[in-house]
């Protein structure tokens, strides 16, 4: 470990890929949070009408996830996509957006690694995207009680 005095105040550690990652992350994150708050307020206001009335959620939130889906008649996985017209499921759009940001950020930095001929990190970043897409896809069994 070495300290060097009298050096510029800029951040020497922020590489091109870090700056790109930070820019994409910053923009997407702000959109995601704003949408999260807006869709939740709409949900509470009943616009559009939720699948489960807000006053009934408390009867279900103590259940196991699987029983909850059974009780509300919704299937596992991405079935919420077909229900975005319902106030409660509309909230899943910004939640899914927030959960997709990391993969999107990785996607945007791969070209920089390719440009730098940094093939090890091209492979690592690509593998990470594969892992995240696999987890998101629902093809991996997510438990059963």
């Amino acid at each position: 470990m070495e300290g060097k005095a009298n050096t510029p105040v800029s951040s020497p550690g922020a590489s091109e890929e870090q700056k790109r990652y930070a820019a994409v992350l910053g923009a997407m994150m702000k959109i995601g949070f704003v949408l999260l708050v807006i869709t939740f307020i709409l949900y509470l206001a009943g616009v559009p009408k939720p699948h489960v009335p807000v006053g009934d959620v408390s009867r279900l939130w103590g259940l196991k996830g699987e029983k909850y889906l059974e009780a509300i008649g919704v299937e596992k996985g991405w079935s919420w996509m077909g229900r975005l017209g319902e106030g409660d499921f509309l909230n899943f759009a910004p939640i899914a957006l927030l959960a997709s940001i990391t993969a999107l950020c990785y996607l945007t930095i791969i070209p920089i690694f390719i440009k730098k001929k940094d093939m090890v990190y091209v492979v690592l970043a690509s593998l990470e995207i594969v892992i995240l897409v696999l987890a998101a896809s629902g093809v991996i069994p997510s438990g059963g009680h």
């Binding site: 470990m1 050096t7 922020a14 870090q18 006053g55 909230n91 690592l124």
Partner: protein, 324 residues
């Protein structure tokens, strides 16, 4: 009152007023369910819970910043132990809380060069893969087993947090082979000393193996992983403390994303729990950063350890059926 503080206050107020207004309308129209008003024989009207959740997570957000821990390690055992929500939903929300906190902090940490992408990418790949395994196991277990094992894990975390010493600039004589191949090293500017700090790491393989366990636990219990990331990055791999803390916070977004998707796909996400939690903990964290300037973090850290011990004990006894 500064503009930022006024904005925080306004958002919090609008949020609380919306929940309150909806509940009033529901009470007037009789839409809520009188048979089970509080959801688990709690005796409270249903809408009290999201409001209490928001207030509690706001407080947890403040404490997390002051205590130097991620929000989820406090969130999951405390909300799981004292709220009428199923553990699946609490763990799903815990992961999303950790994810949201990491996303919010990420841009600043990366731009300043505190979080290091070259260090985070291999670590995140290992941890996020293991988190999927953890989520699969966690989702297949009963609430009682999860509560019991989480109680034990939380109490172990308290011991780790209590005993682990931190090293601001660990002495890394020579970078190991793997970190050299991956070119994991860097220079960051330390504003407090005005110096640029060169850093490199060692024991990379040891660290990566430990991240298998960290990722697995994050996915299984929905705890986030900051409590373990920092000691491994700092003490085992030899990254400077500032790089370790920042990279840990940043890589939570990747580790917890894979597990969060597993919980989402299993139907373990309820917006009425997730959104007040995320908004509460984020507003609390912003407030915590402001309070941090005027508080002694060491005193708060003791409080966090006491709270974690209590929450861990509660989870353990609840899981064993001793304290229902």
């Amino acid at each position: 009152m500064s503009k930022k503080r006024a904005l925080l206050f306004t958002i919090a107020l609008i949020f609380l007023m919306t929940i309150f207004a909806v509940s009033m309308v529901q009470a007037a129209t009789g839409e809520s369910s009188p048979a089970n008003p509080g959801g688990s024989d709690s005796g409270l009207v249903w809408w009290a819970w999201p409001i209490i959740l928001f207030v509690v997570t706001f407080a947890l957000g403040i404490l997390a910043v002051l205590g130097g821990v991620g929000g989820a390690v406090l969130y999951t055992p405390i909300i799981g132990g004292f709220f009428p929500f199923g553990m699946d939903f609490v763990r799903g929300a815990g992961l999303l809380v950790a994810l949201a906190g990491s996303l919010a902090a990420g841009p600043g940490l990366l731009k300043r060069g505190f979080a290091d992408l070259r260090l985070a990418i291999p670590v995140a790949l290992i941890a996020s893969t293991a988190a999927i395994g953890g989520a699969m196991v966690g989702l297949a277990l009963s609430d009682a087993i999860i509560q019991t094992s989480m109680g034990i894990a939380i109490l172990a975390i308290v011991v780790v947090m209590f005993l682990a010493r931190k090293s601001e600039y660990p002495d890394v004589q020579k970078a190991d082979k793997l970190s050299s191949v991956l070119r994991i090293s860097g220079i960051y500017h330390e504003p407090t000393s005005g110096k640029d700090i060169d850093w490199k790491i060692h024991r990379t393989i040891h660290g990566l193996v430990l991240f298998v366990g960290i990722g697995f636990m994050a996915g299984m219990f929905g705890l986030g992983a900051g409590w373990a990331n920092v000691p491994v990055l700092n003490l085992v791999m030899g990254a400077p403390l500032k790089i370790s803390v920042a990279t840990s916070k940043f890589l939570l977004a990747t580790t917890d994303t894979s597990a969060a998707w597993m919980y989402m796909n299993a139907g373990d996400v309820i917006p009425m729990i997730v959104v007040p939690s995320i908004v509460g903990i984020m507003l609390g964290s912003l407030m915590g950063v402001r309070i941090l300037e005027k508080t002694k973090p060491s005193a708060v850290r003791v409080l966090v350890l006491v709270m974690l011990s209590f929450a861990g004990l509660r989870a353990l006894l609840k899981g064993l059926g001793i304290w229902k």
